[in-house]
């Protein structure tokens, strides 16, 4: 039984209102033309050489069960928006973060808090590498990000 109709729309409307008022530094709204798909840009604020002077584009996809169900969040590649290098980010933009998984998600999380978590996930990283098996995964994976059963072996990264 999904939540009452309009639950997601109402909540996203209010999130958008807040986002238009203010966003933390390094996070910018690119577009939110409906309540299904939003794009945001994030930047790392410190001088981590892996991400210095780069901006990354995030795509949020919301189901009608948001925020009871997590949004689908991936990095998207554009000429001026690379996929950040990170041991938990596949080169096709899929992110392995427990916060975004079925188990780790909590409905008190929101678009802003997810962006901030990703910012700090990048800030804290020192490894210039992709997840193990990146090439195979990117070639073979046909699952939606939320259906992938990631093994969160290291929550500190």
């Amino acid at each position: 039984m999904p939540p009452a109709a309009g639950f997601a729309t109402k909540r996203l409307g209010k999130e958008l209102q807040k986002i238009h008022n203010s966003l933390p530094p390094g996070i910018d709204l690119v577009s939110a033309e409906n309540f299904e798909e939003w794009f945001l840009d994030i930047r790392v604020l410190d001088s981590n050489p892996l991400y210095k002077d780069q901006t990354y584009r995030l795509k949020f996809k919301f189901s009608s069960s948001y925020p009871i169900e997590p949004p689908e969040v991936v990095f998207v590649k554009l000429p001026d928006r690379p996929i950040p290098i990170h041991p938990h980010i596949y080169s096709n933009g899929i992110i392995c973060l427990d916060l975004l998984g079925q188990q780790g998600w909590s409905p008190v999380q929101n678009v802003e808090s997810v962006c901030m978590s990703l910012q700090s996930m990048l800030t804290g990283n020192t490894k210039d590498e992709r997840p193990p098996g990146d090439e195979d995964f990117v070639r073979a994976n046909r699952l939606r990000p939320k259906d992938i059963d990631f093994f969160y072996h290291d929550n500190n990264v």
Binding site: P3, A4, Q103, P107, V108
Partner: protein, 280 residues
Amino acid sequence: MSSKAVLLKEDGNRHFHSGDYVSAEALYSKAIIADPTNPSLYTNRAMARLKMNLWESAIADCNECLKLSPDNMKAHYYLAQAHLELHDYYDAVEYALRAYDLCVKTADKSLSAATALVLRCKKERWEHQDKQRRRETRDLEDEVLAMMERERDAALRGEEEEDVNALGDAGGARTEIEQEWERKMERMRTVFDKARAAEEKRRKVPDWAIDDISFGFMHDPVITKTGKSYERSSIMEHLRRSNTDPLTREPLYISELRPNLDLKQACDEFLQENGWAVDW
């Protein structure tokens, strides 16, 4: 229920779902003739009549249903909707609250919808009161200004009478009186305008009244073991999916939720004065 009534009802439901409310209403009517003792036939017809904007006859159906089944949630829900359309805001709020309580008591799946209905009724009641207050304030302003004009005119007449008796700088005194009253009336208008502007400016919803899951204004906050409160319908939705505390991810069960009565009262009181907060 007689099998004939069952068939008519099912046929009615089919028409209702395809958007043919007129046929659905007619079929429910036939079903009621076949079996006048089934409460759900009345609420189904009420639902069709609401779609047809037949508020009064929808209310009649709900009342018939309540005679047969006094704790029927749907009847209260539709009564609230119909009364809202008829601008009977006070009845609408009462019926919506009753529908909400019945949802909680019977763990009905319509809890989110009932929460939204309660808030909508309260908001519309407030808007109605607010309009009334504004009208009264404007009337009062007009009345006070008219009184001041009368006072001014009386003062001017008194000055004219004095002029007849005594020679002097009559014109100057007249202008002085006129100017003095003009100043007073201007100040009066400013005071009223300021009061209206101040009311607009106060429009900020306090964070404590906002549910962190739906981001909506809270109607029935319940508190978890960690001391954080959520709207009952929101946390129920979450717990149906995952028995975890949203903040700590520790195990949390529906049976562990407790009403937060003080916060509920604070929210109620805030909403009484600030009905706009429903759509902040």
